[in-house]
């Protein structure tokens, strides 16, 4: 390919990049973000004072342990399917739940699908009942923080399905709303 062809193509790309659009923030977003920041920032600061030490810091969020049996070699580990852990969230108050996946080996291109019960949303994904993404798991513990928001007092069961190659495993989390 001639240099002038490449130059012309680069100019075209440059022009497209210059035009590459970006919408403005929604009306009121900045104000809401400020209010949430000062509210949440204050809450975190209070927690910082109240909770000291590593153990206490961990207690600041609910850690729901989900052991990926299919990924582990030890057969005596509990079957996640037989125990349904639960979490209680307040109506319309975001709450972060940490799901911990334990993997015996590092996994590339695992697919994680979170299915939410009616009335529960994942922060940042309004109106979406199912969110799927591809991720990699490290050997050992892998943390997935999910910030849940209850829009109705119904509650229900959240499903987290982990797939890798031809194997999959579904974990359940009961979500109660107060």
């Amino acid at each position: 390919m001639h240099n002038e062809d490449i130059d012309k193509q680069d100019q075209e790309i440059q022009a497209l990049l210059k035009d590459y659009p970006m919408p403005a923030a929604d009306a009121g977003f900045y104000d809401q973000a400020l209010v949430r920041a000062t509210h949440e920032g204050s809450r975190r600061q209070r927690n910082k004072w109240l909770l000291t030490g590593f153990g206490a810091a961990i207690a600041a969020t609910i850690a729901v342990w989900m052991i990926g049996g299919m990924l582990l070699t030890s057969p005596q580990l509990p079957d996640a399917g037989s125990v349904i852990p639960g979490v209680t969230v307040a109506l319309e108050e975001p709450r972060t739940v940490n799901l911990v996946f334990a993997s015996a080996t590092a996994l590339d291109s695992a697919t994680l699908t979170v299915t939410l019960p009616d009335g529960i949303e994942l922060n940042g994904f309004p109106g979406q009942r199912e969110i799927t993404w591809e991720t990699s798991l490290n050997e050992g513990r892998n943390l997935l923080p999910l910030t849940l928001i209850a829009l109705t007092p119904t509650g229900g069961e959240l499903l987290a399905r982990l797939e890798h190659k031809d194997r999959d495993r579904t974990f359940r989390l009961r979500v109660d709303v107060t």
Partner: protein
């Protein structure tokens, strides 16, 4: 002065710049809003430091970039799979200032959609550099300050990102 008010006075002048950066880093509205929000929460916790900083805007951008990188390290490639079509930068396509020639507008939109898809195929490092430099007009040294990556590496990423974009856009017929 009330902490909330002091905080607002420090950060609000930089909101537009930060929102743009969040968009360019994440490429999706929901994630950009989350990143913006998380930055503000973190910054509020650092209010005592923030009042002492000469250029809070640059500091806020760096913190946002670091938050973005931390998140990406946790979930590599998440963006490409979590983003639905309606949330892509194409959200803004409808709002593009057009002319009175619908055919021309459609061609342009189509090309931008292809660009959007091509950008999604780049690594985060390449995508961010090319968007900050070629779209947002950041200087190489500004990208260096933001990312902490040496200018030579920034240049190299920019070169590779452009070459990859050219390759993709040639293959799909967007450019010829």
């Amino acid at each position: 002065m009330d902490n909330n008010l002091a905080f607002e006075r420090l950060v609000r002048p930089h909101f537009d710049r930060l929102y743009r950066l969040a968009w360019r880093l994440t490429g999706a509205k929901a994630e950009a809003e989350d990143l913006f929000q998380e930055l503000l929460i973190k910054a509020f916790g650092k209010l005592d430091d923030l009042v002492e900083i000469d250029e809070p805007g640059s500091w806020l951008c760096r913190v946002m970039y670091n938050l973005f990188i931390d998140e990406r390290r946790r979930f590599a490639r998440r963006r490409m799979h979590m983003v639905e079509e309606g949330q892509l930068a194409g959200d803004g396509l409808a709002g593009l200032p057009g002319n009175d020639n619908p055919l021309h507008d459609n061609e342009r939109l189509e090309k931008l959609r292809h660009l959007d898809a091509a950008l999604a195929q780049l690594s985060d490092e390449h995508r961010v550099v090319v968007l900050l430099h070629d779209t947002e007009g950041y200087k190489l040294t500004e990208i260096q300050a933001l990312t902490g990556v040496p200018v030579g590496t920034v240049k190299s990423r920019l070169h590779r990102a452009r070459a990859r974009l050219r390759e993709i856009l040639l293959a799909d017929g967007t450019i010829s």
